[in-house]
Symmetry: C2
Subunit: 713 residues, 2 copies
């Protein structure tokens, strides 16, 4: 995806020279050449041989200019009177030329004078920084920030995958905290956004085209109303970059993943009749979970396990096997895996631990090698397995899970996987899949994205991870998938303490969280800020319809909830319809007591009967200028919780039948009965929370964030 | 609490002049005089009558100086050659003097020359801004920020109540985002912290001493390694400030509040035998709640209500009444209130709505007037009433609440009050009181603080508010109370949308949230960020013991939880004990499998039996270098949830008996059984959450925040 066509040959020539000379950085003139080859503006300069030439040259590049003696014999130019700054016009340039020559001769009569360098003087405007780095996970990234203290002290810098598009570049300029600076403050002029964006795009294309450019820094770039000119260029190179992670083509990923996740036959390697053994739990989960495909227990001795004929090896099994679940000690895994390879099994579910996470790197690498050799994909090792509910498949040693739904979840960690299962069961959250990824020796988040992208049983993907082994691959896939299905991610190891813990836990190298933040956003991924939020989003986002516009109305019985719900809207980037159009305001007022407050929130007041909620919510759903509703319920004897809940479900259904489909979320303030009402609402398509004004709004915010990133708004 | 003694007479003189001349701002020389009177450094200056005098004067104030002609006949000084900047030494000063005089004479031969002004030139260092404003709720506030773009674009400014102490001032310098700038970056020198803090303290004392100073701006102040000098002073005055809110002395507040909250006799004005009426619900709640004092129903006709003798007026009741609960329509309230006044009742619980919140400002002011006249305190109007569980008192029309505990809650809004009741009941959270404040015509948050401060049944105070009618009074009381008992606040109307909603809901004027943020922190108040957090803090903070130090250790079965718990520690300002001392590390390692990770988190790994949790937690509680524990539990069949929970409660109890009392919180990852375990842990002193790594750490963070602010750490 080339965004800008640079002069690659010219850059190649420079880099070849650098490589030949064994350097790992470019000289300033080399850096300038590289910039020029990609149309990145640098100060104009030239060497004049006469006063006339200096005048002409300066006039061509634009004033002011700085003029400097060029002589191998004069090292201290300023001392020699060899520098004149701030030359303002052609006459001054000619005078300066003569003056410098005279000074130089006076300073050193026999100096070999090669001429006078005339260089454009860049000043004023706003100092910005454009750079590029090589990240272990994401590869080439372009960076942008304001110069000086803002970057250094406030770390106000933003990243995008390289190459970046013009839109990416413009979003970077809006994405820094001090974005307003670029628009001109304190009477300053706005910078030329196009010129700055061009610089970002070109830098990003340059490093994308030449992976050997490890680091690049334009610092400062002077951005003015006319131009963006890089006053200083620093380029570091690395001609022996680390090997990229193996990445099969997407088609073969999808083929393998379909066989693994929707197998017609499953082998359990290490199946056992003995209760308490992992191989026994896996067998029971397969059987009791209701899996309809064939089940082949593999055991060195037993002829039958739990009523199923057992085999000594997968190779003895007649017919094809798609998925092999491993429940044997680490030391036997490699041998059995080879047999699976020979049997052309699509995937190995490696429950056993004792590999990378315990320092057994070689053992894990051995598995990876076998996997590659036989084209068998590996899930794990060090995992709980996976669930795929549309096939009633519980390929795991944990408790069975059978509430079907359209959310696919995954976790890097087993503990978090258990929390997912517990929460799902408790909230009656339907899922399509729950997958453990563990050490991610092979299958990782982007493989899952590719599968769930084309899986009609899945509408939302929620992932917990401690690192992305190949952030670049993830981002590229997520960018496409997130346009179709919301992708939600909880990235653990955000902080230095968390990253250290991740490193000792799964060996995850967490990297700079700001990069994750920016690249996930660039990829359209919704980032969950906590485990609970991941779970709440996973539950709520799929059941909300996609909004058709940004105008939100709060309808509340509790004025106090209205205030907190309004705060939550701002916190979550949601826009209240304001001012409420006069006719709509009047229409709401018709339904509420005279001391209620229309406007937005529509405060129907606390003592109202069910019909007031019904009337106002119907109006909110009916009017096409309103795109989503947030309800604030206040528990009273006049409108008990379940009456409210049933009424809301009815009115939303009624309007849905009339084609008025809008996201509705609810916050319930009241005594314990509101918990039952919240559950009822949730199960009927209205994410609702008792005792919380913020969570329902966060869920609506996540849906909006997704819809915007997917270009649906 | 005077922190600095300024020359008040001098300032008074200036202000009198300004007042006499009918101005609302000071001239620059007047501003300078005021600054000098309070020892706030301004550039030195003087007028010299000769070259020699100019030299001496300049040498005395320090170079460089700027010199300017002083002549009523020369308006355009620069044009006349009457200004010389950057005078570097005494000789240059003398030369400049002669030069300026010569230029002036040349420019205008007959000019009346009064002399040459010599002024210290302030440059370099860091530009900062020190200011003061008058806030409607908090009164005089001092503000501090960095000059230029940081304040203007990033709003990086911080506030404290004036007068501010030296410690406050230093905390302001550390409290801005760009604090590092003051310590010297990019080779710059650190500013003189003492000098900047002095400026802040003196400005704050000045505006505290002279309430008529409405606004003051020192912008910029040049802060260098030597000094802080205000280059420009702007002072606005207001000689007719608004009237302060009525504030009884603390002793009489406490006397009244004790009678109201712990009454020996309660009257119910508008008591009713008719089910469904508010006056009936109040009566039933009083009776069924188990209140042991006397109950007097007041009714115009009935002789008996629910078995209690009824009276036509409170004045007919024999003996004293402490509290009168109003359950009559708004229009009758004033009349009944007068009678309560005449009966010397301490407080009126004004449930009725129809006052300020519906625009009936006059009606509410009438009540306030009666309240003041008869010294009867008013709770509300427009409230649900209040609960005080130690007296089994439910003076409310809501459902009864009887789980006793030591948390006192209050809410401005009724809906939020209902959420408090529902959450409390659901979580089995014991409370000492729940109070509705509604329109806050009289009793407000600081009155409650004063009562709960001396109420032995209360250890924690949690408040929801939309505004503080008298933020100054609240802050002053909270500063003291929060040192004894944690004060938690959810401030609604943080955002512009929320503030607008609050204004139309209770007429609350929310003000600048940054001011609330800073002043609440200055007052030692823990700020809850959401309704759920207010409730979680209210539940968890009181049961945690106060930590004795900052060193926290995470002990986890789930490595994945360990990572998220570590992130949460950083997010909540908690410090992990790192590096773990070698002997302690070795001691932990003895208990965990070889592939487990010691360090911090201590990752005991998932498959461990209960004894591993017990051994490591015992060690964590025993060792005095560890001050608090965060537990991460992973549900397995080897250590089921309730086994873990019971073991943890036992070990914590065992160690408590040995004097090892430390805060412990827990995050439980697992299937639904972890919910029961979490509840068990919570009820036994260990705040625990299922499916959340962040909430238990937030609660521990709140406890630490309080302990630090209260000076206990």
């Amino acid at each position: 995806m080339g965004n800008f066509q640079g002069d690659k040959a010219k850059v190649r020539q420079v880099l070849d020279t650098v490589k030949k000379s064994g350097r790992d950085s470019l000289t300033a003139p080399e850096g300038k050449l590289v910039c020029e080859a990609y149309g990145i503006s640098v100060p104009k300069e030239g060497v004049a041989g006469s006063a006339g030439e200096a005048s002409k040259m300066a006039a061509a590049m634009g004033f002011p200019v700085v003029m400097k003696i060029v002589s191998p014999d004069i090292l201290h130019k300023t001392e020699a009177g060899g520098v004149v700054v701030g030359v303002k016009n052609a006459d001054e340039a000619a005078t300066a030329y003569d003056q410098i020559i005279a000074n130089a001769k006076k300073y050193k009569a026999d100096a070999n004078i090669l001429g006078i360098q005339v260089q454009q003087m860049i000043r004023g405007g706003q100092e910005v920084i454009v750079g590029a780095i090589t990240d272990d996970s994401f590869g080439k990234l372009v960076a942008f920030g304001l110069g000086g203290v803002l970057v250094e002290v406030l770390k106000d810098v933003t990243f995008r995958l390289a190459p970046a598009t013009q839109d990416d570049a413009l979003s970077m300029m809006d994405g820094i905290q001090a974005a307003e600076m670029l628009k001109g403050v304190r009477g300053g002029e706005a910078v030329n956004r196009q010129a700055v964006a061009d610089t970002i795009v070109r830098v990003s294309q340059l490093v994308a085209d030449f992976p050997e450019i490890a680091e690049l820094d334009l610092n400062p770039v002077f951005a003015s109303k006319d131009s963006a000119i890089a006053a200083d260029v620093r380029i570091l190179v690395n001609f022996s970059p680390k090997e990229a992670r193996f990445r099969p083509d997407e088609k073969s990923v999808v083929t393998s993943m379909n066989r693994i996740m929707k197998p017609r036959a499953v082998a359990v390697i290490g199946a056992s009749s003995e209760s308490g053994k992992i191989g026994n739990s896996v067998m029971k989960n397969l059987i009791n979970g209701g899996y309809k495909g064939e089940i082949f227990p593999i055991h060195p001795k037993d002829a039958e396990i739990l009523g199923y004929k057992a085999y000594k090896s997968v190779k003895d099994v007649p017919g094809e096997i798609d998925t092999a679940v491993f429940a044997i000690p680490a030391k036997f895994v490699a041998g059995a895996l080879k047999e699976c390879g020979e049997k052309k099994i699509a995937g190995a579910i490696l429950i056993p631990s004792g590999f990378g996470e315990t320092g057994n790197i070689e053992g894990q690498e051995e598995l990876q090698k076998i996997g590659r050799e036989y084209n068998i994909r590996l899930m794990g090792p060090n995992i709980y397995g996976f669930y795929y509910t549309p096939s009633n498949l519980c390929a795991t040693f944990c408790t069975a899970y059978d509430v079907k739904g359209s959310t696919a979840l995954s976790s890097q960690s087993g503990g978090i996987g258990m929390a997912i299962i517990g929460y799902s069961r408790s909230a009656k959250m339907g899922v399509s899949a729950i997958v453990g990824l563990g050490n991610k020796s092979d299958i990782d988040e982007d493989d899952l994205l590719l599968f769930f992208e084309q899986d009609d049983n899945t509408t939302v993907i929620a992932q917990h991870c401690e690192d992305l082994k190949d952030g670049r691959a993830f981002a590229e896939v997520a960018q496409r998938v997130s346009k179709k299905k919301p992708v939600i991610m909880l990235k653990a190891g955000r902080t230095s303490a968390g990253a250290a813990a991740a490193s000792s836990h799964t060996g995850a190298l967490a990297g700079n969280d700001k990069i994750y933040e920016d690249v996930l956003r660039q990829s359209g991924v919704i980032r969950a800020r906590s485990l609970r939020q991941l779970l709440d989003f996973a539950r709520g986002v799929p059941i909300l319809p996609t909004p058709k516009g940004e105008n939100i109305v709060i309808i509340t019985g509790a004025g106090g909830s209205g205030v907190l719900l309004s705060d939550a809207c701002v916190d979550n980037g949601l826009k209240l319809l304001k001012p409420m159009p006069d006719d709509l305001d009047a229409a709401f007022r018709k339904f509420i007591p005279p001391f209620g407050a229309a406007g937005n929130p529509v405060d129907i007041t606390g003592g109202e009967p069910p019909i007031t909620y019904i009337n106002t919510v119907r109006l909110g759903l009916e009017d096409d200028r309103i795109h989503a509703l947030i309800l604030g319920y206040w528990h009273t004897i006049v409108t008990p919780p379940m009456v409210f809940a049933r009424n809301m479900v009815e009115i939303v259904d009624e309007m849905r039948k009339k084609g008025k489909v809008k996201p509705v979320v609810a916050s319930l303030a009241g005594d314990v009965e509101v918990e039952e009402a919240a559950q009822y609402l949730y199960e009927h398509g209205i994410p609702a929370y008792a005792y919380s004004t913020e969570i329902p709004v966060e869920i609506l915010g996540a849906k909006y964030q997704w819809a915007r990133a997917a270009g649906l708004l």
